[in-house]
Symmetry: C2
């Protein structure tokens, strides 16, 4: 990945599929309609902030790069975004989050009950649409990926507190929690070009998604609150163990390690304690090591696109890699 160049924006990436993304959004609106007013109220709230639609973007670009975007790909785009929204609803409910995309979360605006059930509603509506396509491959990819997502969520629950949470554990977590759905989106899109493209696009999406998550976890150590909207060190405050810390631990002195353990043992660590641990992680090159790992995965993602025919879709998929790795928020 080049550095020092102007940051890639989402709208550059989405340019080749802009009209199709509108169709995906329209289909989502249509699919969610129900004859229960409460469901329509929640859907309206959910769809008010359209979100980045990054997963449908990947799906559509993958399809365009090796084939053609047909109504099937529009539906698949809606399916992956609905699944993504369902996981956000359950995540926010489980975490008692109050804000998402600058809007109150469903659990905050309606209730915890509504958030859980509405997540189930979104997911089951997505599966219904998928079944209508009568495409066994798409069903296999999607059902595998959605189960992986739940496994990722469970792995995340055990990623807290434990300094024995290893780099391998972290890798399993981010593959399941973040990379799986992005990989699934790319693989679903690649079906438009035939079986031979499935594997390279899946590997592209896996590496892209994993790099995306490492970059996200890095922000907690490097970004400032005015950029990300959340205080730096939030993961440490919640005792969440991510790659920068995992990579730094083996290089820490006994005293430094004790400081980290003390933070993990403190149910309500304050800013000075958190800042001290961030400094230790920096000094032990945890941040450099995590950046190197993200960079490595970015190169792997790039390599998977070597045989893809050149064109705007391929360019946008390459730009997506920079977008994920260089993200500031």
């Amino acid at each position: 990945m080049k550095s020092g160049v102007a940051q890639v924006t989402l709208s550059e990436i989405q340019a080749p599929v802009l009209g199709e993304l509108d169709s995906v959004f329209d289909e989502m609106v249509c699919v969610l309609q129900a004859d229960v007013p409460l469901i329509n109220d929640v859907s309206a709230h959910l769809l008010r902030a359209r979100g980045k639609m990054f997963r449908p973007t990947l799906l559509l670009l993958s399809a365009q790069a090796v084939g053609e975007i047909t109504p099937k790909e529009i539906t698949l785009g809606a399916v992956v975004e609905l699944i993504h929204l369902a996981t956000l609803l359950h995540d926010d409910s489980v975490d008692h989050s109050v804000l998402r995309r600058g809007q109150p979360t469903i659990n905050a605006e309606f209730s915890h009950e509504v958030a859980v059930i509405m997540g189930d509603y979104l997911y089951t509506r997505a599966v219904e649409q998928l079944v209508k396509l009568q495409t066994q491959e798409a069903l296999e990819i999607t059902s595998r990926v959605t189960n992986e997502l739940t496994i990722g969520e469970m792995r995340e629950l055990i990623s807290y507190d434990g300094l024995e949470f290893s780099e391998a554990d972290y890798q399993s977590l981010i593959l399941a929690k973040t990379a799986s759905l992005m990989a699934g989106a790319c693989e679903l899109g690649a079906l438009a070009g035939g079986q031979r493209w499935r594997e390279p696009f899946r590997r592209y999406g896996t590496n892209l998604g994993a790099a995306f998550q490492v970059a996200d976890d890095l922000l907690d150590y490097t970004a400032t609150e005015d950029v990300t909207g959340k205080p730096v060190g939030q993961d440490l405050r919640e005792h969440k163990v991510t790659l920068p810390l995992i990579a730094a631990i083996p290089r820490m002195s006994t005293g430094e390690r004790a400081q980290v353990e003390s933070l993990m043992a403190n149910p309500t660590p304050e800013k000075p304690e958190i800042d001290a641990v961030i400094k230790i992680v920096e000094a032990c090159d945890g941040i450099g090591a995590a950046r190197a790992r993200a960079s490595e995965m970015a190169s792997q993602a790039e390599a998977e696109l070597d045989d893809v025919p050149p064109g705007p879709a391929r360019d946008a998929l390459l730009a997506s890699i920079s977008y994920c790795v260089e993200r500031r928020k």
Copy 2:
């Protein structure tokens, strides 16, 4: 429906498919295995109490009545029971219930987070197994039904407090919340006998499931705590509006109606107030009307089996109707 006869037991109903039910349970155990210890711990807790397995029983009996039970029906049985368990997990989590089948609920024993995510895990594993069967009809039935379940849950959230909750609203609620999965189980089983059996078995299951729910809601007005394990009038205490109350309202005097409204306006109604409303519902024949409705649906369920070849499976399906309507807990 005959009355005054000895009550039908679950083991009588299950006798024709006892071995196959064991296979369903074994498959569930197998399907839930994961390489995340926390998932296996929760699964072990969930499967410790095997439960009534009523939905797989209906599925297997339906298959046996018009065709043959093959490994596909065993998998479908596991799928419907896993979906049922997933809804129980989310129900208990949403309701903050602490006991289920005499065991602590997952939200009580583990945590709310684990209950929500584990529900998602069960459901997505069920879909994965279903997809492997490569049967479009089974996918269509199951995806339709699971979405109906979530709509039923949303309808239930709005069934509280409102005396304007009508009999039509109640009917929509119980069809979605309870009847849909039982109807789906019967329809999935009937696939073993070919397309012609799908509709009658679906209607049988719909009526059976609706009668089951009406009987369940009646218990709240008629059963004693030592039988059901929950205090009589629990629904009224929670301001939950069910058929006996809905049927009684039009027959109430202004004063009686005011008493019901006062209970609904009281956030913590006590036993004397609840008992008084139960007496009003009895006096206005709400209980009789609900019983008549259950009986009517039971007769409709029975009629759907008229053309089904005689044999132990058909007998057990007929007995299931009495089991649902005459249930004491």
